[in-house]
């Protein structure tokens, strides 16, 4: 009690605050440094080592990177995966923008219900989503049935399972909520009177959309696209479950180095390449996602 009432006393409380402060600093900087930065650095180092007869050889060399660049089957998987992720991103940004825009125009209970309906799949287990989607992709699956019903196909196609198309469909569907939500939030943040001001100055609805809505929603759209690309490019669960042997992706290549192939240094080198691509996309998105006008 006495200590509480004499807060102004110099020396003692300050010293205690000093220790606390030090502890605080140590936690705040120490834990991210040890558990995020250090592992990434370790793993960067691993990429320069090699493996011989099941033992890790700690000699610095670029051999893993040369091995990757020199092997066409690796580089083909790499570029194939980049294009796959790019296609997933484009599909999802287009679809996502359409859905987000429509939802942002709605009002009241319907809007609330539909947005909640988007958050449910967002928080749903990722592998469960993949599993469920796989269920509709087979030759006797719902997708084939629908396409035959609509007269687009005359007989069931095996085009939708155990190949890259299956991976594309699965990733697009599984990642779509991650794309829609940031775009929707960006659209919701545009005050109605900007749109009114635009119309007042003579802009047609289409001009208002193109010159006000679209640029103002761009930061959120970039973030949505980034989430989609980064998650797609590094994913190995969806290709593993719906890709079969023909749907081989870079993520599976990395994963196999830590499983069956058991070549950790090579796997680490492959992931470093993935890390560089992802960081590049994240930084680029960070730039695009915070244009000058958004900063104070």
């Amino acid at each position: 009690m006495a200590a509480l009432s004499t807060t102004g006393r110099p020396g003692h409380p300050d010293r205690r605050r000093g220790w606390l402060h030090l502890f605080w600093l140590a936690t705040v900087y120490g834990i991210p440094a040890i558990l995020i930065v250090l592992p990434l650095l370790t793993f960067l180092m691993f990429g320069f080592w090699s493996v011989e007869e099941g033992r890790i050889l700690r000699d610095f060399s670029f051999d893993n990177y040369f091995a990757f660049a020199g092997n066409e089957s690796y580089t083909r998987v790499f570029t194939g995966t980049l294009f796959l992720a790019l296609r997933v991103m484009i599909i999802n940004v287009l679809l996502g923008f359409a859905v987000a825009y429509f939802l942002s125009r709605l009002e009241g209970r319907l809007k609330y219900a539909l947005v909640l309906g988007l958050i449910v799949p967002l928080l749903m287990s990722y592998i469960i989503k993949i599993y469920a989607i796989r269920g509709i992709l087979g030759t006797s699956g719902l997708l084939n049935k629908l396409l035959i019903f609509l007269g687009i196909l005359s007989q069931p196609s095996d085009l939708f399972l155990f190949n890259l198309t299956a991976v594309l469909i699965t990733l697009s569907l599984a990642l779509l909520p991650f794309t829609i939500l940031p775009i929707f939030i960006a659209l919701e943040k545009i005050p109605a009177n900007y749109l009114e001001a635009s119309a007042d100055l003579g802009a047609t609805p289409w001009q208002t959309f193109r010159r006000v809505t679209l640029p103002m929603a761009l930061p959120g759209t970039v973030v949505g696209g980034m989430f989609c690309f980064v998650l797609a490019v590094g994913d190995f669960l969806a290709p593993e479950l719906v890709g079969g042997t023909r749907g081989f992706t870079y993520g599976r290549l990395v994963f196999s180095q830590f499983g069956m192939a058991f070549n950790w240094p090579f796997g680490a080198a492959l992931s470093v390449i993935l890390l560089i691509v992802s960081l590049g996309v994240i930084v680029a998105a960070g730039r695009l996602g915070s244009p000058k006008w958004l900063r104070q």
Binding site: L114, K189, L237
Partner: protein, 271 residues
């Protein structure tokens, strides 16, 4: 003029159709799975007269599953607790000291959330094996803590920044110590943000598969167990388990939405 209005209506109608299709595509697979946990499938046709709960019954006799669920809960609670403490400390620090150093710190915290999970998982795997830490629930909990940290941190920081500085100054002006200000002013105001962050973090941890796969060693969490079962194929037992987890996910989402309230989910959205 009328042509223009007509065009607008047509555009909105087209968007409505796209949205409806997206919702069907998002939900149809899930409903199918739920359906197939009760009914049998023969040559691609659902046998409507084959209703049965036998697959749910089988789940309860599956002992590995109970252990996996227990492990998932342990990891979930442990990582949520660690992430919340760390996120709160970080949020207070960044809020008090904006600048280049904290900007870099923020970027680092966000890495495990933004990077492909495979990279986070692998880097921790390599790191732990270098230091001789054996894989198990402990390493998985660390991985999950880092994965959910960014979201928890962001949720708490946003609330903290939203609090008026006047509030703190008023409290100190009335004679409260720093601790009293924290206890009586900050904490009650942050409670909602911390609970929201905790629920979100738990949901993420409970479903996390990719990082876990690298750090789990030879035990199981629920998603890992599921992954193993799914690789074997599309079985009614998996369907039953998936349906149960889905119901749980939906309930959790509704609780979060309820807790965060319409203020955040309905009307104007802010995250």
């Amino acid at each position: 003029m009328n042509a223009l209005r007509l065009g607008q209506h047509a555009a909105m109608a087209a968007l409505a159709i796209v949205t409806a299709m997206v919702f069907v595509a998002l939900y149809a697979p899930i409903f199918l799975v739920a359906l197939l946990s009760f009914f049998r499938l023969r040559r691609g046709e659902i046998q409507w007269d084959s209703f049965s709960l036998q697959w749910y019954g089988k789940l309860f006799s599956n002992e590995g599953l109970g252990q996996a669920l227990a492990n998932s809960l342990i990891v979930g609670f442990a990582s949520v607790l660690m992430a919340l403490v760390l996120a709160t400390l970080l949020a207070f620090y960044v809020n008090a000291r904006p600048g280049l150093r904290t900007t870099i710190l923020q970027f680092v915290i966000f890495l495990p959330f933004l990077l492909p999970p495979i990279i986070t998982g692998l880097s921790l795997l390599v790191f732990f094996s270098e230091w001789g830490v054996s894989r198990g629930l402990f390493t998985v909990s660390i991985g999950h803590t880092l994965f959910v940290l960014a979201l928890a941190y962001r949720t708490i920081l946003t609330r903290l920044q939203g609090l008026s500085r006047n509030l703190m100054e008023a409290s100190q002006d009335l004679g409260a110590t720093r601790w009293q200000t924290f206890r009586y002013i900050l904490l009650p105001n942050l409670k909602l943000a911390v609970v929201t962050a905790g629920l979100l973090a738990f949901a993420l941890s409970f479903d996390e598969t990719m990082i876990t796969l690298f750090l789990i060693g030879d035990t199981n969490t629920l998603p890992i167990r599921l992954f193993a079962m799914m690789r074997a194929g599309f079985t009614p037992e998996v369907n039953a388990l998936v349906t149960l987890i889905l119901v749980f996910s939906i309930l959790l989402t509704l609780v979060i939405a309820r807790y965060v309230g319409r203020g955040a989910i309905g009307g104007r959205f802010r995250l």
